[in-house]
């Protein structure tokens, strides 16, 4: 480990000298955190609704009101005819158009089935599916009320006939209030740690390659091992600074409850951060320009952490092949540990396996990266 201290000093000085990069590295994770926490909510609300009420009766108004009163729909347009409603959907100004035909109240008074048409914009499928369920739900409640009134008027005890067979009693565990911040904010810790540290590491080393200054170091008495360690440590320190800031924000700004043991969690971050910077080193041995390094780092770190860690997209929804694919990236194990600690309050007895895999993964990447690096030097 000859000459590790000078390399460390040089690297820290270089990071310090470019306050711009330093600022971004520290500021950006927080921006990410806030953007996500405040806007990622897939539940539907304020769905812009265009209503064509051709019946215009007390019943049709009661029917439409029921939708608005759920708070899910926002009555934004009252076009005069269905064609105009269609145009509003095409332009994306309305997401749902409902057509109550003339004769709605007449059909109900005659004891027949009145038909209502609803058109839902399907371009965002997740919302469309929820909208469909809400429309069905409101419609069922309305119909049930009609039937109950009818049976009561006959005096046959509609209440008994229409009593529900089953009453759903939901019990939501780990995140009973179903707050999206409670899963998004801790889930982002893994993404943030894997997004910036490897990228900065790779850029720093490839930058020296591009400028040619790496050759000067190799002809100096500094050993390759010292060069690697000296290059990696500053970025690990940076990653831990990011971690500290993010944890503070999670705790004091977003007030996400921590059900488990924080020290156990911090233990898991150590192999994760080492693995992250080692991926950066690996990337630097494959690429020769900073742009290529960035793209490769994105493909190897940020994208899998974001997409295949189970943070936003649950792994059980993926095809088998990609459930398998997700094992190739450390973010999956780390995310499982994060949720175990933050939300479930479980400890090593549940996620020891994940921790071992994480350590093994890190060891493998470190070995591979140093091997490739030494080969290049030698």
């Amino acid at each position: 480990m000859n000459g590790i201290i000078p390399i460390l000093k040089k690297e820290f000085r270089e990071i310090w000298r470019d306050p711009y990069v330093l600022g971004l590295a520290i500021f950006l994770p927080l921006v990410l955190l806030f953007l996500f926490a405040y806007s990622f909510d897939l539940d539907v609300k304020n769905i812009p609704l265009a209503l064509v009420d051709l019946d215009n009766s007390a019943e049709s108004r009661a029917y439409a009101d029921m939708f608005v009163n759920t708070g899910k729909f926002e009555l934004k347009y009252r076009p005069a005819d269905p064609d105009e409603a269609m145009r509003l959907l095409d332009q994306g100004r309305a997401q749902v158009a409902m057509l109550i035909p003339a004769g709605f109240s007449r059909a109900l008074a005659a004891g027949e089935t009145a038909e209502v048409q609803t058109m839902v914009d399907g371009t965002f499928p997740t919302s469309a599916r929820l909208v469909q369920s809400y429309v069905d739900g409101v419609n069922q409640v309305f119909t049930k009320r009609l039937l109950a009134e009818h049976f009561d008027s006959l005096g046959v005890g509609g209440g008994r006939l229409l009593a529900p067979a089953v009453m759903p009693v939901p019990r939501v565990r780990y995140n009973p209030a179903m707050l999206s911040t409670n899963f998004l904010v801790p889930g982002l810790i893994g993404v943030i740690l894997l997004a910036f540290a490897p990228l900065l590491t790779a850029l720093a080393i490839v930058g020296e390659k591009e400028r040619g200054s790496i050759q000067q170091i190799f002809i100096s008495p500094v050993s390759p091992a010292a060069f690697i360690v000296g290059k990696l440590i500053p970025y690990m320190v940076l990653a831990f600074v990011e971690l500290a800031l993010v944890l503070l924000a999670v705790q004091f700004w977003f007030e996400v409850p921590m059900a488990g043991n924080i020290w156990l969690f911090l233990l898991a971050t150590i192999p994760y951060v080492i693995g992250a910077v080692a991926i950066g080193l690996l990337v630097s041995t494959i690429t020769s320009s900073q742009l290529a390094a960035m793209l490769l780092a994105l493909v190897l770190t940020f994208m899998p952490a974001f997409l295949f860690s189970g943070f936003m997209f649950p792994i059980f929804t993926m095809p088998r092949l990609f459930q398998f694919y997700s094992y190739f990236f450390p973010a999956r194990f780390f995310t499982e540990i994060t949720y175990g600690v933050y939300l479930k309050g479980v400890g090593l007895e549940v996620w020891l396996g994940q921790l071992i895999l994480l350590v093994a993964y890190t060891a493998a990447v470190v070995a591979l990266a140093s091997l490739r690096f030494k080969k290049k030097v030698g």
Binding site: V156, L307, P314
Partner: protein, 376 residues
């Protein structure tokens, strides 16, 4: 096109293709879209489910089966003790649990309601919410059916007087609600933005660091020509990548093309111009490559986020909703979904096209000005 410009463009092409890893990576980013399309969904499906059936009757089995038939749930465990579901959930083996008590079929015959417990892993609240909506919907349908049977048996239906409302829901544009179509198109749009900004920014900074701009400035080449020569070859390469993405989306994933492909390419060129404008502008500010790339990262993420690709814009708080108007990607995504899924043309999409054109002109204008100033 004059000869100077042609010569410069040839140089750009040669320079661009020299970095093989980069070219492969650019093409690969469009392949990555296919991976996403294949693997990712924000919808609940195949949620591992554990069931406790305390009743063990034909009725309870039928109810469990109707759960298993939904795409949302996959039955993985039948437990003998309701508490076992909690343990399975702690270990992450199941995300959903259904508890049917012992008196279910007896209550059903007596006409009294039974409490059926739904256990949910709420960690991912959006998935849990969808699962809850699905489970409640199923139980509601079940109740409706039971009530209808009771009414029929009671003889009240004989009067032929049953006021009901039937709401026929029709899903437009994507009747099968294939998430894959949505994600393919939006990832394509994000990739267009990503490469559209990154590649020109990196190109400019590289030349700045190498000091070759000064050499170019003493030739008769003008600033706008230089920028055009930088941007046009890149746009051609990116259009090739875009074509790979479009072909994959349509042939492998069956994304329908209901509008005009020509219009889509036209809009894509506008989008490339806007994003190149952002890229060149960044290139004039940044002092080195590291700064450029970090700045790109810093800008791209919010731009992508504020476009309605990950979260519907109507779900955002008002402040962020307002900010989405500043993201060119918002207009591009709307136009892409419009052309492919809705099959609408310029008569509907003109505001988006206009917005992209304005973004492109303003950004390229400012960046050319800044570029000239930064050299003299």
């Amino acid at each position: 096109m004059n000869r100077r410009l042609a010569g410069l463009m040839r140089k750009e092409f040669i320079q661009f293709f020299r970095d093989k890893v980069l070219v492969i990576l650019i093409l690969y980013t469009f392949v990555e879209i296919a991976i996403c399309g294949w693997a990712l969904t924000l919808e609940v499906r195949n949620m591992p489910t554990a069931v406790y059936d305390g009743d063990r009757s034909a009725e309870s089995r039928a109810l469990i089966e109707s759960f298993a038939r939904l795409d949302s749930f996959t039955l993985v465990e039948r437990v003998q003790d309701p508490a076992e579901i909690d343990r399975l959930m702690d270990a992450g083996k199941v995300q959903f649990g259904l508890v049917i008590p012992a008196d279910f079929s007896r209550n059903l015959k007596a006409g009294t309601p039974t409490d059926v417990q739904l256990l949910l892993d709420g960690s991912n609240s959006s998935i849990a919410g969808q699962a809850m909506v699905d489970a409640n919907g199923l139980l509601m349908d079940y109740n409706g059916q039971v009530a209808l049977e009771r009414v029929e048996r009671s003889g009240q239906a004989g009067h032929g007087f049953l006021p009901q409302v039937k709401n026929l829901v029709r899903i437009l544009y994507m009747p099968q609600l294939k998430y894959v179509h949505f994600i393919m198109l939006t990832m394509l749009a994000i990739t267009v933005l990503l490469l559209g900004v990154l590649v020109p920014a990196a190109g400019i900074v590289r030349e700045k660091q190498a000091g070759t701009f000064e050499q170019l400035m003493i030739t008769p080449i003008t600033g706008p020509e230089l920028i055009a020569a930088k941007i046009i070859p890149m746009i051609l390469v990116k259009l090739a990548g875009l074509t790979i993405g479009v072909v994959m989306s349509m042939w492998i994933f069956g994304v329908p093309l209901r509008g005009s492909l020509l219009l889509f390419y036209g809009i894509s060129v506008l989008m490339f111009l806007s994003s190149s404008g952002i890229g060149v502008l960044m290139g004039t500010y940044a002092q080195n490559m590291q700064q450029t790339l970090l700045m790109a990262f810093f800008l791209l993420f919010p731009l992508a986020f504020l476009s309605g690709t990950m979260v519907p814009i109507s779900n955002m708080p008002p402040f962020l909703r307002w900010l989405t108007y500043l993201s060119p990607l918002r207009y591009y995504v709307e136009a892409t979904l419009g052309v492919f899924l809705k099959g609408v043309g310029l008569e509907v999409l003109w505001p988006q096209v206009l917005a992209l054109a304005i973004f492109g002109l303003v950004l390229l204008g400012i960046s050319t000005l800044r570029f000239r100033k930064s050299l003299t």
